[in-house]
Symmetry: C2
Subunit: 692 residues, 2 copies
């Protein structure tokens, strides 16, 4: 696939608009970085003052800049940026980086100014990054259009960030421990080039092996998911999203004006995209380093090699939290370890070489462990002691980790003297961590990515027997009647049109009509009062269940249904486990399906799973597996197994329904009653809210 941002990273000629001679100005920093960080093409400072800067001729206007020039970096105040962009367009430049802040992040006035930029770009067929960004870096070209002091080292991590400060902070930190980057993309307000464009570019970049993204809002959730899903089978993607809690959402809104969206939708999108979500900046870098340097383990069995029992125990606890565990080392492996380790080494797992191992012991023991069939990966935990220099141990670990596909991570703890050791490890493609818990997170990211790669591609074949026209007709009737929600009968018909199994039902205005209906559909029946504004029926005593005969139905009808109201009569579903299936729309990621335990429990337990709609059989079964409802469906002590296949089928049909029909805002099957294995699942109470 072609790189949609190729010109930004490999331009023939760069103009810097606003280049200043004042070294305290950002515009000076941009020019300085272009000149001193290795860019080999022509550089054109532009400033009406003219003259010379850093040995380069300054052009009074961009119109005067000679060929070749493909990229403009505009470092002017917000109010002068649009004009400069237009001048670049006029000059034939088709790619621009806009540094200034003072746009959509300020609210209404700023949004207008930002729309102007979009209009200019459209007019000239330009693409731009920003505004409100710090620019882009490619360490291989090399080119650095930012004003950051330090140019990152060459590496294999592509980093994309909404926030310039996150770029700067991460580069600072990474360079101190020898972590390199292939590319850095600061997206800013994403008025033109957005997250999905950046991902597509990094996916196409041969130097980028792993992508780490810091994001706030996702302007086009669907494109993000599609682009990421194309990339993640080959290149891992770790994502930190701010604005996942109420306070974070507020902070994001005040920062970039982005809508944070619902956290469950974001997680569902990551799942579909094969992206690995993390909770904070250290996890973002910790995960990216592991994914950049090593391949996923074939399984969860990990060996720990150490000189420090306490810290390895902490590491072992952390392994469990990421779904991995200590491997059982075979007698043969332990015998081989005894041959190469210092006397007294405890060859169980953790392999504890106690106080006195030499660097060569690490190399030899690591090779034994990596060769062992029962070991899927190794964590080395070294606490520096007076005698053995950390750097020598790092080199020894690096050597031991050569020529293996199995992952190795290394924790070397300590303070100031660790930098050289970290660099030595990274030079050997062994991720370094300061603490065992973070090393476990690195392995955990690899393990999780292995499971992403093992997943079959999502296959969205539509379900059989869907009558979309019939569904549209049901919705059309409600819209015509001015309803914002379907009544119980219309809900049942809509569900049935999508192949959900709904017990036979109908509406009746009188007790006599209800009885006639019940005779036709068969007793026992349920009666529900249908009246405008009554949504949560259990609240108002509006449901009578298990009515066995006409007498019981008449009594219930006369008690519940007032004049001008209707009764919804439905054949009782067979007994089963009450689950709930819901669907709703997220502003960023579109339709979502939810599954959980039904009845009054669902609100209290909040034990639910989400997926993007539509979804496939595999995803539907995953949702079931993730929930307590699913564990109950499979049958626990004293309870029979239920029809999991029918529940999964219902989930797929609800997903298809909400994905097909944009007229629907929300669907709620509460409950979906799941019968015994092979019996099916019945949607007995279908609430449907129409889109505003």
């Amino acid at each position: 696939m072609a790189d949609p941002l190729y010109t930004f990273f490999h331009p023939h000629g760069v103009a810097v608009l606003g280049a200043s001679s004042n070294p305290l100005k950002l515009s000076h920093g941009v020019l300085r970085n272009l000149v001193t960080h290795g860019y080999s093409g022509p550089i054109y400072p532009v400033n009406p003052k003219g003259g010379e800067l850093l040995g380069l001729r300054v052009y009074a206007s961009v119109a005067q800049v000679p060929d070749p020039v493909e990229l403009a970096v505009i470092v002017l105040a917000a109010e002068r940026t649009a004009e400069a962009l237009a001048a670049c367009g006029e000059r034939g430049i088709r790619a621009a980086v806009l540094i200034a802040s003072g746009f959509a992040e300020l609210g209404a006035g700023g949004r207008e100014r930002e729309a102007e930029l979009q209009e200019i770009a459209r007019r000239y067929g330009m693409r731009f990054i920003g505004p409100n960004c710090v620019g882009v870096i490619d360490t291989y070209t090399p080119i650095d259009t930012t004003f950051s002091r330090t140019m990152p080292e060459q590496g294999v991590i592509g980093f994309v960030s909404h926030s310039g400060a996150v770029c700067g902070g991460t580069m600072d930190w990474a360079s101190a421990v020898g972590v390199g980057f292939s590319r850095i993309v600061s997206l800013g307000n994403q008025a033109d080039i957005d997250l999905a464009d950046a991902l597509a570019s990094l996916a196409a970049d041969p130097n980028t092996k792993t992508v780490a993204a810091y994001i706030e809002g996702v302007p086009d959730g669907k494109r993000f998911v599609e682009t990421a899903a194309r990339m993640t089978p080959h290149k891992p993607l770790v994502v930190l999203k701010a604005g996942r809690t109420p306070s974070g959402t507020r902070a994001v809104a005040s920062h970039t004006g982005a809508l944070a969206g619902a956290d469950q939708a974001f997680l569902a999108a990551c799942h579909r995209a094969g992206a690995l979500p993390v909770d904070n900046l250290e996890e973002l870098v910790d995960g990216a380093i592991a994914l950049a340097y090593r391949r996923p383990p074939a399984g969860p069995e990990i060996a720990i090699l150490t000189n420090a029992g306490g810290p390895s125990a902490v590491g072992a606890d952390a392994l469990d939290r990421y779904g991995m565990r200590l491997a059982n080392l075979s007698a043969e492996t332990q015998a081989r370890l005894r041959e190469v380790c210092p006397p007294g080494t405890m060859t169980g797992n953790p392999v504890d070489m106690l106080g006195g191992p030499q660097p060569s012991h690490y190399t030899a023991a690591l090779r034994v462990l990596l060769a062992a069939e029962e070991v899927d990966g190794v964590m080395v935990v070294f606490v520096p002691q007076a005698i053995t220099p950390p750097h020598d141990v790092a080199v020894a670990v690096g050597r031991g980790a050569e020529q293996t596909a199995k992952p190795v991570v290394c924790c070397i703890s300590g303070g100031g003297g660790i930098g050289a050791a970290a660099r030595a490890l990274h030079a050997h493609s062994v991720p370094h961590y300061l603490t065992p818990a973070r090393a476990a997170l690195g392995l955990g990211a690899l393990y999780q990515y292995g499971r992403v790669q093992a997943r079959p591609p999502v296959s969205l074949e539509p379900a059989a027997g869907v009558k979309r026209e019939l569904a549209l007709e049901v919705i059309g009737r409600a819209v015509k009647a001015g309803q914002r929600a379907l009544d119980a009968q219309a809900g049942a018909e809509l569900a049935a049109a999508y192949g959900l199994v709904v017990p036979p039902s109908g509406l009746a205005s009188t007790a006599a009509a209800a009885i006639a209906l019940a005779e036709r559909i068969g007793y026992p029946v349920a009666l529900k009062r249908v009246a405008p504004g009554v949504v949560h029926k259990a609240d108002v005593g509006g449901v009578a269940l298990g009515l066995e005969d006409s007498r019981a139905l008449r009594t219930a009808f006369e008690r519940m249904v007032g004049p001008g109201e209707q009764g919804f009569v439905q054949r009782m579903a067979p007994p089963g486990l009450e689950t709930v299936v819901g669907a709703q729309r997220d502003s960023q990621f579109g339709p979502l399906v939810m599954f959980g335990l039904g009845g009054t429990y669902v609100e209290v337990l909040k034990d639910v799973a989400f997926r993007l709609a539509p979804l496939d059989e595999v995803e539907a079964r995953e949702m079931i597996d993730e929930t307590a409802a699913g564990r109950l469906l499979k049958g626990v002590r004293g309870q029979p197994a239920r029809d999991v296949a029918a529940a999964a089928d219902a989930l797929r049909r609800v997903g298809q329904l909400v994905a097909d029909l944009e007229q629907i805002a929300e669907v709620d099957l509460n409950p979906l009653i799941v019968g015994a294995e092979g019996e099916g699942a019945w949607a007995v109470d279908v609430r449907v809210i129409l889109a505003g």
Copy 2:
């Protein structure tokens, strides 16, 4: 309270047994540290070779060491340690630090050798730390009996650790960023002085303001809880325990041979002790720094002051995860901020001063925020930029944080250049963190500690109406009959003796007898088959519920109860919510009470709360509040509120029962049916397993 380890930290004279002239030996390191790290009392190297070492006379034996000598540090191989300890005892030394490994951590043989040390200590009335430890440090005396290269700076954190490597790693790391310690205690195998002793000592030490503990096993859980509970109202305690997962438990067992105990029991013990459990080493230090330097916030309302929107959004998300949130800044506060901040500052929360604040802006803005009534604490998030040096910002933040009781934490991110800034912050008692999520953890530890301090002391008044003698009689009968579990009737009687409400019941061997019984206690009744080996009744069809009359009872009896078996007949409890109450014993922390949702759900949902037994009313209500069962008890949509007070009373009585009666291994009330408010709660199925 007196310091039980006073002599270890303030000895008049220290003998070093095994002091070697070889600088690569640990024993040389110990002597060197005593000499060079400031200890001002007399130091006596002991080595049969005699001579002189580091300018000190070497004594051929400890018997020859002159007065005063109060502490011995024994740095000899395991097989020579016991003899040396005895020689110290003979010489009149009553405190010793034993460095050697090769004891209980090796298994059976080592345990024997360790028992010998205990025997010698008993004989001479000595106390010792270790074996298998790295010694103790007091930075105020000062005295350093370890062989670590670096002496920590003076500080207010007392650090206690089972693992020497954790001590070493933590000191290294802390010294690089200017975090000081009051005392370090490496406990090793705890053959004599244990965690509780160390906590009592740190509680009594006037220089220690906060205690951080790394622990593996807890040899005397009850003493740990009691000692910690006395300390934590005044001094916070952060605890990292290894061995909380299956892999961690295995690692701990292979490391020190300690039993890890059940995680739920550890968490219940922390709750009672007022200790703050953390998950890894960075959280241990991050939490301790905050607790050492600042006071808890009065509430959860936090302001963020920043030059970096993205990182503050990540910080805001993390605040929510610790139960805090962004404060709503009043119009007045925002107006005052506008007066002191750079133009363009966004004065909502986060307060974002954007790209160009000077150090003085941080001081002024911080003072405004700390003076605001609506703000309980402040997080400063600073990402270094080209222009403002991090150290200057650190000093400015330190100044702004003076003269306030409200907590301030500061994140300054970046790589190499941060050391001086971190030191400047710590010198101003402002905790420094490298990332916003860790800063939020620091504030979170303070917030959580504030809630520990606000908790009323546990008040373990026994419940009224307990007939202990009657309970003992019930147990005695079962023991006499050779039963390992009480039968249903005996279980009911035991529960009733402790004041639990149990519906009337009895045993019957024939259908006729069952009917006679039912006539007496009243229909409807439940019938349960009582037969040896039948514990989980629901599995075998051994329960019939809601038998309304003699015919139904007879039919059920004849179907279920075989010859030689008995039927347990019990009046049906009124309808209510099924919860489960359990009690069990942990090997380290003793009896525990559990509460959760009853029926088949409990096993699937694992939504349960634990407390140590006995427990008080406040704790019983907390348990209820923590669970989904509790939320259901309080009444959700369409469901009435239940008798929470009766459920809490039942929890207390079960706690008292298991705490009183050591003969009981396990109790299980499944279900405890909780009726409507004011109606009570009924224990209808009481399983009791007796202690082996």
